[in-house]
């Protein structure tokens, strides 16, 4: 049972897989985006290992899902790498190699991605016959890490290692800069320090408990993640949500976008040392966080989403919420006025961290980063979900791709978000005050699968959920957070900039380490 807009196609040969992928992706990217790519261990169902690639574009609400059954050869499972033809596949294929031991032959970068030195070679956590105890027994914290960083050789090249513990209150990651004077010649990021084995954990805890886990994959995208996870499971069970629940989810998704975008614009001020801008941004963000808490009981919008609906009526007392939204809008306008007048701040943003559209398309950029580099991609209009198909709104796209453009995309979107929130609140009186949950329904059918998605503040979030033979627990949950797509763009955006601009460029992308590392 597959919901309507997921078109599955099994390709029998590796060459066919590459040919069809290139056809969907386009020679230079841009036709359809590679939304996610993952492997699944379906040996217990007799289907062996499979690699899936999901493509979709802006034009039509269809997901093209290619399935490549993996054949065992003498050296273990492997297939011809897709990366040389579809560059956006590069991190996905390295991840598949780490987690399943399925080797993409001919991949230009054969280094490990997810697993660090303490995980010995030959241990593949996501294979179904590998238990948690097996993995834990083999983890050896004394084992030296021998990750081969990219070396830049030549006169005057200075290597600067930074992290994983950074100077500020931020997440861990290691950055290896090769600099000439102050200019970054090459940046080799090493992430996955916060790898928590989330995908395997989903398989252990069952469908219902998965919601709480999804909310904790990326702290400030909690609601986008829980919505994407819930809608995947709801699609498998064939549940249709009451309109009030759909509108409530849409409202909270926009609220999440609002507090993130405002916080990000404020944080960019910290990147240039514009203290008053940072303080005003933080103060406004705090105001929105308190609205979050008042509406949902959680500053991070956790605990509201459930499979089948929402647990609280966030649209009641719409008048009160509307008044607060009005105050937030006033304060936001005044805050943006302050930023627009700070010429020294704006000048630092302009032309910093340029991300060319071609690189963004080829590497599969998503969210604000993509929309600032000329890719008009927004899941809210490409694949309308929840209440979005009943709303009329604008998506924004600019082409320059520098830090300033990324800030302006956020500024554009805040206006749109506030308008959507207002519209939903005004319509709320018209929604029936019936249940916030879909009625009782059958459980998850065995061996069914579905995609779930949401456009989070950082970009698209995708979940693929497949149920096991008993239908009680998932056989595979693939999580693709927005940051997983956008992290590989950083080295390109940083190249040629001075090192003191790195924090600023980093803040303009606002990438989650935890969402990427899982």
């Amino acid at each position: 049972m597959n919901p309507g807009n997921e078109l599955y196609m099994t390709v029998e040969s590796e060459d066919e897989f590459i040919r069809r992928s290139v056809e969907l992706f386009g020679r230079n990217g841009g036709r359809k985006a590679l939304r996610l790519m993952f492997a699944a261990d379906e040996r217990e169902t007799g289907a062996g290992f499979n690699v899936y690639a999901v493509f979709s574009g802006m034009g039509e609400d269809v997901f093209d899902i290619l399935r490549l059954p993996i054949r065992e050869n003498g050296r273990g499972p492997g297939y011809k790498s897709l990366t040389p033809h579809v560059p956006a596949a590069h991190w996905y294929e390295r991840e598949i190699a780490d987690m399943f031991g399925i080797i993409p032959e001919g991949h230009p970068d054969s280094r490990r991605l997810v697993l660090h030195g303490m995980y010995p070679e030959g241990i593949y956590p996501l294979r179904r016959d590998v238990s948690v105890q097996d993995i834990r027994k083999k983890i050896d914290l004394e084992r030296p890490d021998t990750y081969p960083y990219m070396k830049v050789k030549g006169e005057g090249i200075c290597e600067i290692p930074v992290g994983p513990v950074h100077a500020g209150i931020i997440e861990p990651g290691h950055f290896r800069f090769s600099a000439v004077g102050e200019t970054v010649y090459y940046l080799d990021p090493r992430l996955f320090y916060t790898h928590k084995g989330v995908e395997k954990h989903f398989e252990q805890i069952g469908f219902e408990n998965g919601v709480a886990l999804a909310e904790r994959i990326s702290g400030v995208s909690a609601f986008a993640h829980s919505t994407a996870y819930c809608s995947a499971v709801e699609r498998m069970r064939g549940i249709t949500l009451p309109v009030r629940a759909r509108a409530a989810r849409t409202f909270l998704l926009e609220l999440e976008r609002l507090y993130n975008h405002v916080g990000d614009i404020g944080n960019m001020c910290a990147g240039t040392g514009f203290a008053i801008g940072y303080a005003r941004g933080a103060s406004l963000k705090e105001r929105i966080m308190r609205l979050n808490e008042r509406l949902t009981g959680s500053r991070y919008l956790r605990g509201v989403n459930h499979i089948g609906g929402v647990s609280r009526d966030v649209l009641e007392n719409a008048e009160e919420t509307l008044a607060e939204a009005g105050k937030i809008k006033e304060e936001y306008k005044s805050f943006m006025g302050l930023i627009a007048g700070a010429i020294s701040h704006i000048e630092r943003l302009e032309n910093a961290g340029l991300l060319p559209g071609k690189i963004a398309r080829n590497l599969g950029a998503t969210g604000v980063a993509a929309r600032a580099s000329g890719i008009n991609d927004d899941l809210r209009t490409a694949h309308p979900y929840m209440y979005y198909d009943e709303l009329v709104f604008e998506t924004y796209m600019r082409t320059k791709g520098d830090v300033y453009t990324r800030m302006m995309i956020r500024a554009d979107e805040v206006g749109c978000t506030l308008a959507i929130m207002t519209t939903i609140l005004k319509r709320a009186r018209g929604f029936s005050t019936g249940p916030l949950h879909a009625g009782p329904s059958a459980g998850v059918p065995p061996l069914s699968s579905a995609l779930g998605w949401a456009e989070g503040p950082r970009g698209s979030v995708f979940y693929f959920v497949k149920s096991g033979k008993d239908g009680l627990s998932p056989l595979r949950v693939k999580v693709r957070a927005a940051s997983f797509c956008n992290w590989p763009l950083m080295p390109f955006a940083v190249q040629g900039n001075i090192i003191p601009d790195f924090p600023l460029i980093n803040k303009s992308f606002n990438l989650s380490y935890s969402g990427c590392d899982m």
């Binding site: 994983p164 904790r216 933080a282 500053r299 006033e330 306008k333 005044s334 500024a411």
Partner: protein, 172 residues
Amino acid sequence: MIEKIFYNIINKKQARPLETLALSAGETELIEEARKKIDRVFGRSVRIRQVDAGSCNACEWECTALINPVYDVQRFGVDFVASPRHADILLVTGPASFSMALALKKTYLAMPEPKIVIACGDCAADGGVFKGSYAVTGGVDKVVPAVSRIRGCPPSPSAIMTGIMETIRKLF
């Protein structure tokens, strides 16, 4: 278009930001007692090094909120520092992933004595929702000795502030 709006609103009256958080009577008493100890033991100010050991980033944002104009924890002599060498307290978030274990241990070793470790958030206390996963040790305690725990997922900025003050009051 937005640029045009900017120019129009620059000259208008500025909206009033949130005011600094007022403390409850209990919090005031706690902070006053803790401040006396901070004055005596730490020479008037206590410095915190925050380490993310695999957190989802919500705890980090709540720590960051502590230094915004609303909570403004710096008014009590508490601040976050860049180096463990300058830190009195190590505030650790996250379930201590195996990949971060070594970095966490090294940060702890780089601190001067007395080394005070506070586990911040449910994951840091016992692994939280990640308990039982192959990739996490299941709590900060498994890597470095924590003297206290701040519960919550994530704990609110006020909870982190009182948690830190409680720890200081309890220890000295």
